[in-house]
Symmetry: C2
Subunit: 346 residues, 2 copies
DNA sequence: TTTTAGCACTCAATAGAGAGGAGTGCTAAC
DNA sequence: GTTAGCACTCCTCTCTATTGAGTGCTAAAA
């Protein structure tokens, strides 16, 4: 049995209604609110068919029906018409990136905040995967007689700077020399290519300052290690309370706990590395814990290299149309901003 | 009527029991569990007195009694014996600061995490008030032909670094010159003393590079502005779910919303600027919203200058003894660490 | 053949009644 | 001053209708 036009209409009506009300939808409601010119009995028959086909589910016999993940999938792929952003939202997003120079992580954090504000879902963002990023410059900047700043600049902005203690009697010229060595060794490499052991041959340059050499190696290697670190940023975690299905303390708590599992969230987002917007509905998701949620993600890039992923998570009865258009727009705006700011690298 | 020894004993028993169980305590429980050698009827009479004196409250006639804020205050000031940390906890804290050089904000963030882990309450931390901090060094570090890094180093570590675009044809010597000018103007001043207008007289040095001058001023002033910014860090927000009195969705939600009001939290913490540990119990707190919570705070310092505040927040039936000893220890450890690391400044 | 009206049936949600129990306050005796 | 005893309060839990939204089926109408 194929889905004829009327079945589709009814299915769409049920999905629309359920997205708004979060209550199982009955045949009478469909007949009255979405006047299709047929009686509730007819709709009842159709709904029965739709259930048999796996598009609808019944929480219990005397309740209305609820769309299945399969129905949402159909809805996203075929039924729904993608809304474009309204002016206010577009303006909000534009404002975020207008004329600002922020540290990379700040940009992503702000993006997450705006995402959760606009969609009223919880937003998740992956900071850029620095292992893929090229080291542009390393420099030891003298600060005063005791301290220097080790700055590592990458093709996507600054990675990191660390205060490092310098031994007595070290001259600025020596720091410059060290900077040059570091650049020779590491410039142009990505973080995954870098190997701290490459420094060993130049150890003799440090002569009597072996302690300085060691602490430099320490700082650099922890810096490189950290660059591999997964970092997951969140926005609007308590937005989940807006939804009636999370008025239950156990559900709310389990959601909030889920949001604290950064490793899991990382995996979820990292899996969608192919450019563009991706929608995962409930059980489509490979992770058992996400069975009850839907996730809409988009990637962001620097030039044509994908750097990371942003997304929103919410109940499966998500406003897909809105979420998708927002994510699409946001991914593109963020990529634009980054590419404009950090441009093409040598 | 003054509180005699037996009344104090009974009060202490009730507080102890309520802190553990979160259930109103009845006269029989006191008689049996905390054998004072008198019958429940006697205790009942004493409890009645204690209620009249404002130390106990009754949720309803046929329930046991619950300590009032006044009782907790007495408990904290007189009754309780301050536990010292157990070895495991002390070790945990020591570990946190051992041999690590972290960015200032990282230190505070980690401190908050450990605090909430150890106490199982939610922790709040104020990042250092940079307006009181002295600028040690400003430098423009050339990164490549398009960008330089503006680094502002303060007496408490790095404040901030910002990537800044430099116009074509600017030579490193010029950047150094600019760095020197900036240092002349701002070195040794605190952020609250600094005035961006001081730069105007040197504007002519920039000659044809007025755009560069302008963007420099922009970045600097936003940097200075940001230094005044209140920043509140949290740890263990979902710990609140551990407590039976927050199994109710409304209470849990209202707590989590409260934790999102960064301005309010800032005010709360900022108000305790006198050195040492401070305890605010329920209604003692000037803020209406905190009526149901108790807060234990401690300050942390660099040398003898108070930089900020850390604290834990939880239900009024808090384990004050534990909380106070942890906060005391933590405040001191953090101050030690900072002072050792960033030491005495010129 | 499709649609519809009608009706019995199901089942969650809600309200109400009653029993149980923890705890108090009071009184009278010790 | 202390305690045993007892009536009383009031929350909590359980059990039992009652209600109502919604279904599925059947038979008649289109």
């Amino acid at each position: 049995m194929e889905l004829d036009a009327r079945k589709l209409q009814i299915l769409q009506a049920i999905i629309n209604d359920y997205i708004i009300t979060a209550e199982p939808v009955g045949s009478r409601t469909v007949a009255r609110k979405y006047g299709l010119g047929v009686s509730s009995a007819t709709i009842r028959n159709e709904m029965s068919d739709l259930e048999e086909l796996g598009y609808l589910e019944q929480p219990h016999t005397s309740a209305g029906r609820v769309p299945s993940d399969k129905a949402y999938r159909l809805y996203v792929d075929k039924l729904m018409r993608v809304r474009s952003l309204d002016d206010q939202e577009a303006e909000y997003i534009k404002d975020l990136y207008r004329d600002k120079i922020m540290q990379l992580e700040q940009v992503i954090l702000q993006t997450a905040k705006v995402l959760s504000d606009i969609t009223s879902y919880t937003s998740i963002a992956l900071t850029p995967q620095l292992s893929k990023v090229v080291i542009r410059h390393i420099q030891l900047v003298p600060v005063d007689k005791d301290f220097a700043l080790l700055v590592v600049v990458t093709s996507s902005g600054i990675l990191k700077d660390t205060l490092i203690r310098i031994p007595e009697g070290i001259h600025n010229d020596f720091l410059n020399k060290v900077s040059n060595i570091l650049n020779e060794q590491f410039q142009g490499k990505t973080f995954s290519e870098v190997d701290i052991k490459d420094l060993s041959p130049v150890q003799e340059v440090f002569a009597e300052n072996q302690r300085f050499f060691n602490s430099l190696v320490d700082v650099l290697s922890s810096s490189f290690q950290e660059s591999q670190k997964k970092e997951v940023l969140l926005g609007g975690t308590t937005n989940i309370f807006r939804f009636p299905e999370y008025q239950d303390i156990l559900r709310a708590r389990s959601f909030l706990s889920l949001m604290e599992e950064k490793d899991l969230l990382y995996q979820i987002l990292a899996s969608s590395q192919n450019n563009g917007v991706k929608v995962s509905i409930g059980t489509e998701n490979p992770h058992e814990e996400l069975r009850d949620y839907s996730i809409v993600t988009a990637t962001y890039s620097l030039g044509d290299r994908v750097l990371g992923t942003i997304g929103v998570i919410g109940p499966t009865r998500m406003e897909y149309s809105r979420a998708i258009s927002v994510m699409d727009h946001m991914g593109k705006s963020l990529s634009n901003y980054l590419t404009k700011l950090y441009g093409k690298q040598p």
